[in-house]
């Protein structure tokens, strides 16, 4: 299994732990990644409110580069916003040839063009369907018994393109989590919006969404995420959200591959657990308990 890898800007800064743990876990699962050389920002969710063409041309540039480097490989993207931006180019250009030509005309500024051979895949999609829970289970060296995990999917990984799971009641993480030995919290907030893109411009509205999610997860030891925006919202604004009216208590928030890495034998340092902004002492204690020991 070989993929072109698009980390995205967050994974170079605020989400380094997502980048590193994804690379390490995929390596342990026998997945090969080739980072797209010279990749640039996909525009996040901030370009669409300004320019319609640019919001397609930016991700199209990365797709053109991926196509040039490895035309047969799927492009693996861990960030949900980056994933959606690239997926949208794929979908819209497929449906509208004029638009595809317009995007290629923009790319001609760099002597690039995109023909559409590269498929865009989210990290979760690759883990859930290409790798699969069985292979994950075989690679587990330390079952994480005694932990209850709330799987958080967020929005853009399944909306508006629900390619690999039910966007109303997503469940693709459950078999992967069970393969690690943890209990999965039964909740209905997994696909609820956390308001990430409003945190800079409409703080109060975003905090209300974060509070609701944290409240619902208060029975869990931790929440796992598959998007740097969701992660940041749920961990960095947690105290503020609880203070502003949430009933919840502090909850640890980890990236899915960080938790997987711990079960696959990586240490807390290996998955950069020290970079997380919400890890409770209770979780650290449970992770270090001998009960969660070797298989």
């Amino acid at each position: 299994m070989k993929y072109s890898y698009y980390p995205g800007c967050s994974l170079e800064s605020g989400a380094v732990e997502y980048d590193l743990s994804s690379r390490e876990v995929l390596r342990l699962l026998g997945v090969e990644l080739a980072e797209i050389p010279d990749w640039t920002c996909c525009g996040a969710s901030a370009v669409e409110p300004v320019s319609r063409l640019l919001t397609l041309a930016l991700p199209a540039r990365n797709l053109a580069l991926a196509e040039r480097e490895a035309p047969d490989a799927d492009m693996l993207v861990p960030c949900s916003a980056c994933y959606l931006n690239h997926m949208r180019v794929e979908r819209e250009c497929e449906a509208d040839r004029k638009l595809a030509a317009r995007v290629n005309e923009a790319l001609s500024a760099e002597g690039l063009s995109r023909s559409g051979t590269v498929r865009v895949r989210h990290l979760l999609d690759v883990l859930a369907r290409d790798v699969g829970p069985e292979r994950v289970g075989q690679a587990v060296v330390r079952r994480l018994e005694g932990l209850t995990v709330a799987p958080y999917y967020g929005c853009q990984v399944l909306r508006p393109y629900p390619l690999f799971d039910d966007p109303e009641r997503p469940a693709s993480m459950e078999p992967l989590l069970k393969a690690l030995g943890v209990e999965v919290l039964d909740w209905d907030m997994g696909g609820r919006c956390c308001g990430a893109s409003l945190m800079a411009t409409k703080r109060a509205a975003a905090l209300a969404l974060v509070s609701a999610i944290l409240d619902a997860a208060s029975e869990a030891d931790l929440i796992v995420t598959v998007c740097p925006m969701c992660q940041m919202n749920l961990e960095a604004y947690q105290k503020e959200a609880i203070r502003s009216g949430g009933r919840g208590r502090p909850v640890s928030v980890l990236y899915l591959p960080q938790l997987m890495g711990l079960a696959l034998g990586l240490s807390e340092d290996d998955v950069l657990l020290g970079k997380n902004m919400a890890v409770t002492d209770a979780l650290r204690g449970k992770l270090r308990a001998p009960a969660a020991a070797t298989v």
Partner: protein
């Protein structure tokens, strides 16, 4: 007040500087809306909005352009696509919200320009650095907003990120990389 009344009676609102083509495109996106309200019921941000998404679409189709552009509703869309997913007519509602942000930001109202500043600063940052440099982005945003209290809102997060070694102060290896693409897109979008 006068201007407002005129805008109501003139659908495409010739009295205000609205891009009529862009407006017509957005109206087309929601033309088939049957006012079922599924969008409003699905929107996680509806409680914070001054108009529900459903009534926004109706006002848009009635040509109440001033009322639509003065509303906070589309600025509160967090692009979660719940409305788009559930719309029984299959309308691109999230895209319409983004298109309204575009329209409002170019329409020349001072308040809207301010609301659109974050997006503009973001894009300038990407154009210059190739990859986002958050620290630089936020500094420019604070300067442009000219609100001395605003940085205080972000201080706790900034300190947390700094402590975790997550704030990057240096430039990017992709600096200037997107210049040609941006220039080309600008040239293409300026064509009549």
């Amino acid at each position: 007040m006068n201007e407002r009344t005129e805008a109501v009676s003139l659908p495409a609102a010739a009295t205000i500087a609205v891009d009529i083509t862009a407006l017509a495109e957005i109206q087309d996106m929601v033309r088939a809306c049957m006012q079922c309200g599924t969008c409003s019921a699905s929107c996680p941000n509806a409680p914070a909005m001054d108009r529900t998404p459903r009534s926004l679409w109706r006002m848009l189709l009635l040509g109440l352009v001033d009322e639509v552009l003065e509303s906070r509703t589309f600025w509160l869309c967090s692009a979660c696509y719940s409305c788009t997913l559930r719309c029984p007519r299959g309308l691109p509602l999230t895209e319409a919200m983004a298109a309204l942000k575009r329209l409002a930001a170019t329409d020349g109202r001072a308040a809207d320009r301010k609301r659109g500043l974050f997006y503009e600063d973001f894009i300038r940052n990407v154009e210059k650095n190739g990859r986002v440099r958050e620290t630089e982005l936020m500094l420019h945003y604070f300067l442009d907003m000219r609100d001395p209290l605003l940085p205080l809102d972000y201080t706790p997060l900034g300190l947390k990120l700094l402590r975790k070694g997550k704030l990057r102060l240096g430039g990017s290896g992709q600096r200037g990389r997107l210049g040609p693409l941006f220039a080309k897109v600008r040239e293409m979008e300026a064509r009549p």
